[in-house]
Symmetry: C2
Subunit: 205 residues, 2 copies
DNA sequence: AAAAAAGATTGAATGAATTCATTTTTTAAG
DNA sequence: CTTAAAAAATGAATTCATTCAATCTTTTTT
C-alpha cells in the first residue's frame, strides 16, 4: 500500500493544479496570485513552491495536458490519412488548431510560449520543447506515410519538409495567439495557402 | 537654438540607453535592476519610467537597431542575388544570422521574443512584430526577384513561399536562442537542409 | 524681472513573486 | 511504543518592478 506521505503529496499536487487552472480561466494568468492559488488549494504559499519552481511551471503543466491530447488525436490521422497531400495536411493541422483553445485561452498560450522561450533551462520549458518536437515529428511522419502510400514523391526529404511545415504552422499559431481578433478560420485559411506550393510540388504527378 | 529642456532630455535618454545596454551585457537582462540602470545613468528610478514604460521597452531600442541594420544588409543581397535559389537563400539568411549576435546576447533575444509574445498590445511588441513583417517581406521579395531573373518558376506563389521560408528560419532562430550550446554554423546548416526541398522544387529546371 | 504655468524629477510606498529559517508531520530504527 | 532522522509545510521577510504625490526646474506671460 502507498505510504501516507505519497498519497498526501499526490493529493496536494492535484489540488494545486486544479486550483491554478481554474483561477487562470476565471481571472487570467497575470491576475491570479500565488496566494490565491494556495488559498484555494488549502496549502501555504511556501508549499506551492515545494511543488512548482515558479508560477509559470504550473501553467506549463496545463499545456502538457493539452498537447498530449492533440498528439493522440493526430496519431489517428497519421495512421489513416486523407488521400491527397493538401487534404492530409489540412486534416492534421486543423485538428491541432481546433483543439488548441479547449483548455487554454490565447493569453495562457502566450504566457506559456513566453516562459518556454525565456527560461529554456527550466524543467517545464524542456518539457514544452519536447512536446513541440513530438508534434514536429508527427508532421514528418505524416509525410513519410504519404510517401509510403505513393502520394508524395519518393525522393522527397520527409524530415526536412515536415520540419518546414511544422515551423510554419507553429509560427502562425503564435501570431494567432498574439492577435485577439484573429479567428481559427483565418488561421487555417492562411496556413493552407502557405502550404499549397510545397504540398503541390512534393506530390507525385 | 534647442532649448535647455530638450537638450537635457536627449542627453538623459542616451545615458539611460547606454547604461542599460551596458548592464544587460555585463550581468544579463534579468539581473540588471532598474535601480542600477538609474544609478549608472545618474537619474532616479522615477525618471527612468518617464522615459520608458517598463523594463522591456529599453530592449526595443537595441533590437530595432539590430534589425534595421540587418534589413539594410539584406537589401543589398536582394538587389543583386546569387544565381541559384539555394545560393540566394543561404546568402540572405546567413546575413541575418551572422549579424544577430552583434548587439544582443542570446538571453537578450529570448527576453525580447518573450515580451513581444506576452504583451502583444504594447508598443514594444507592435514594433517588434513590424520588424518581423519587414524581414518576412524581404524573403518574399527575394523570391520575386528570382522569378524575375528566371531562376524560380513563373507560377510559384512568391508570397506564400517567402512566408514559409521566413517562418522556418524564424522558428529555427528561436531554437538557437534557447540553446546556449547551439552554434551559428549548426543553425545555418540545419536551415539550409530544411530549405533544400522547397528551393529545389521551385527552381526552373 | 517677478509670477504663473508647464514640464520633469524624485524616492518613498505599493504589490506581487520568491526565499528560507523554523516548525510540524511522517517514517524508520531500536 | 519511543525516539531519532527525514521530509514537508509554513508564513514572515526579502527582492524588485512599478506608481504617484510632492518638489524642483524651465519656460512663458505680464
Amino acid at each position: 500500500m502507498t505510504g501516507l506521505r505519497a498519497r498526501q503529496k499526490a493529493d496536494r499536487n492535484r489540488r494545486i493544479l486544479d486550483a491554478a487552472s481554474a483561477l487562470f480561466r476565471e481571472v487570467g494568468y497575470d491576475s491570479a496570485r500565488i496566494e490565491d492559488i494556495a488559498e484555494r488549494a488549502e496549502i501555504s504559499v511556501g508549499t506551492f513552491y515545494n511543488y512548482y519552481e515558479n508560477k509559470g511551471d504550473i501553467l506549463l503543466a496545463t499545456v502538457s495536458m493539452e498537447v498530449e491530447e492533440v498528439l493522440s488525436a493526430g496519431r489517428a490521422i497519421v495512421d489513416n490519412p486523407p488521400a491527397s497531400v493538401m487534404g492530409a495536411l489540412d486534416a492534421l493541422i486543423g485538428e491541432y488548431y481546433d483543439h488548441s483553445l479547449y483548455y487554454l485561452s490565447k493569453e495562457m498560450w502566450r504566457t506559456a510560449m513566453a516562459i518556454s522561450i525565456q527560461q529554456p533551462e527550466s524543467p517545464f520549458s524542456k518539457r514544452y520543447t519536447e512536446l513541440d518536437r513530438r508534434l514536429c515529428d508527427q508532421v514528418s511522419t505524416l509525410i513519410l506515410k504519404l510517401k509510403a502510400k505513393g502520394v508524395v514523391a519518393i525522393d522527397v526529404d520527409a524530415e526536412a519538409v515536415g520540419e518546414m511545415l511544422f515551423h510554419n504552422l507553429n509560427t502562425m499559431f503564435t501570431e494567432f495567439a498574439k492577435r485577439e481578433t484573429m479567428s481559427l478560420d483565418d488561421l487555417k485559411a492562411r496556413v493552407s495557402r502557405q502550404n499549397r506550393p510545397l504540398a503541390t510540388l512534393i506530390a507525385t504527378r
